[in-house]
């Protein structure tokens, strides 16, 4: 598989090969760059644009820009290709948010919710998640539903449930760790 060929190739080296391709071109390197970074840009988009379809579009747009700039030799430091892609994602997302806000004001926003589900979303088994959620203590369930569904922050949740922000954060962290473990997902590489 092409992915195996690139396994030991650092991101910077990959970028340099795209910037200075051999005679056969750098199509496989470009595909590998897309494979590595498109999911990260989608993640960024999900967090900041809060819309799966927009996140998907963002990933395509940003990776196209990055590849075009590499081909044109206008990425100053290919070793920092990750930072370059993130900066491009930030600028593109800001522009997109402005456009969306304008559209919303004009009232012509299209209903695109759930049109596209990014690959990482499909990995979650919802019936299993329902069981895992129900296995949590009632208070913990309330806290994570309020956080991740109702989008309330710790202070707001503390106000609603009669608690403190600090206590809500602790409950939320423990609940999410239990949920993650129950779902069989791995722990983050860093400390818990």
């Amino acid at each position: 598989m092409e992915t195996d060929v690139f396994h030991h190739v650092a991101d910077g080296e990959l970028a340099r090969r795209i910037a200075a391709p051999s005679n056969g071109g750098a199509q496989t390197e470009e595909a590998e760059l897309y494979r590595r970074f498109a999911p990260r840009v989608r993640l960024y988009g999900r967090r900041h644009l809060r819309n799966d379809a927009a996140a998907q579009d963002l990933a395509q747009e940003v990776l196209l820009i990055a590849i075009e700039r590499l081909r044109a030799g206008s990425v100053r430091n290919p070793d920092e290709i990750g930072s370059f892609i993130l900066s491009t994602a930030r600028l593109t997302a800001i522009a997109r948010k402005r456009t969306d806000a304008r559209r919303e004001r004009l009232g012509d926003q299209m209903a695109v919710k759930d049109v596209v589900e990014a690959d990482f979303v499909q990995a979650v088994d919802l019936p299993q998640m329902a069981q895992c959620l129900n296995a949590l203590e009632a208070h913990a369930r309330q806290v994570i539903v309020l956080t991740y569904y109702a989008e309330r922050n710790a202070a707001q949740i503390a106000g609603e449930l009669g608690s403190t922000s600090g206590a809500i954060r602790i409950v939320r962290h423990r609940a999410m760790e239990r949920l993650r473990d129950c779902m069989g997902l791995r722990k983050a590489a860093g400390r818990g």
């Binding site: 650092a10 993130l86 329902a130 009632a138 309020l146 989008e151 609603e160 939320r172 983050a188 818990g192």
Partner: protein, 197 residues
């Protein structure tokens, strides 16, 4: 690929997806994820978990005591909610219809002087349907809002569902209210002018 020398913690990942990090921490995590594939994968898993939670709740496939803010969000998302309000001692007829996503039961009562309560739902057969312990009650709070998946209730036969709200006082359980829903089963819209069960 770059080695990961300063991995993102799971606490940071959950706070990131909760939108509760200060901008500088958020940027630090994003910058790291764009240079470290394993942390990007961990961040993606956190995203999958929180996105799954949103989809699960939006579909109504959950059971929890909730607040008005959750109900408001469900309504905004187009989730179809059927609500029953009951007072202590009430026996209220209820049913779940084919279009319902979530059944909400508002358990009203006098909870003054109470810090925490337990809510236990039991079927007519005696089988425990759900139990929520240690629910904090705010001063002045006059109802508890129980949300249950309509799909789960749809699978029940015609039966009663009894809610008992209790609190612990000086080591003894004190009953605050008992509420009964007489569940008629699932009802289906036949089309204009008629319904059938």
């Amino acid at each position: 690929m770059a080695d990961c020398t300063n991995a993102i913690s799971s606490a940071d990942i959950f706070e990131y997806w909760a939108g509760e990090l200060v901008p500088s921490d958020e940027e630090r995590i994003e910058e790291h994820a764009f240079t470290c594939a394993s942390c990007a994968a961990a961040l993606a898993e956190g995203g999958a978990l929180t996105s799954g939670l949103r989809r699960l709740v939006r579909s109504g496939t959950f059971h929890s005591l909730v607040s008005e803010s959750v109900l408001n969000r469900l309504a905004r998302d187009g989730t179809r909610i059927r609500t029953f309000s009951v007072r202590p001692g009430d026996v209220v007829p209820c049913a779940v219809w084919d279009g319902d996503d979530v059944i909400v039961t508002r358990l009203r009562g006098d909870f003054s002087g109470v810090d925490t309560v337990s809510v236990v739902a039991t079927l007519g057969s005696g089988q425990e349907l759900s139990r929520s312990d240690g629910i904090v009650v705010r001063p002045g709070q006059q109802e508890l809002i129980e949300a249950t998946s309509a799909e789960w209730i749809r699978q029940l036969p015609a039966t009663t569902v009894r809610f008992r709200v209790t609190t612990m006082q000086e080591g003894l359980e004190r009953l605050l209210g008992e509420y009964t829903l007489a569940h008629a089963g699932s009802l289906y819209h036949e089309g204009p002018g008629g319904t059938a069960s």
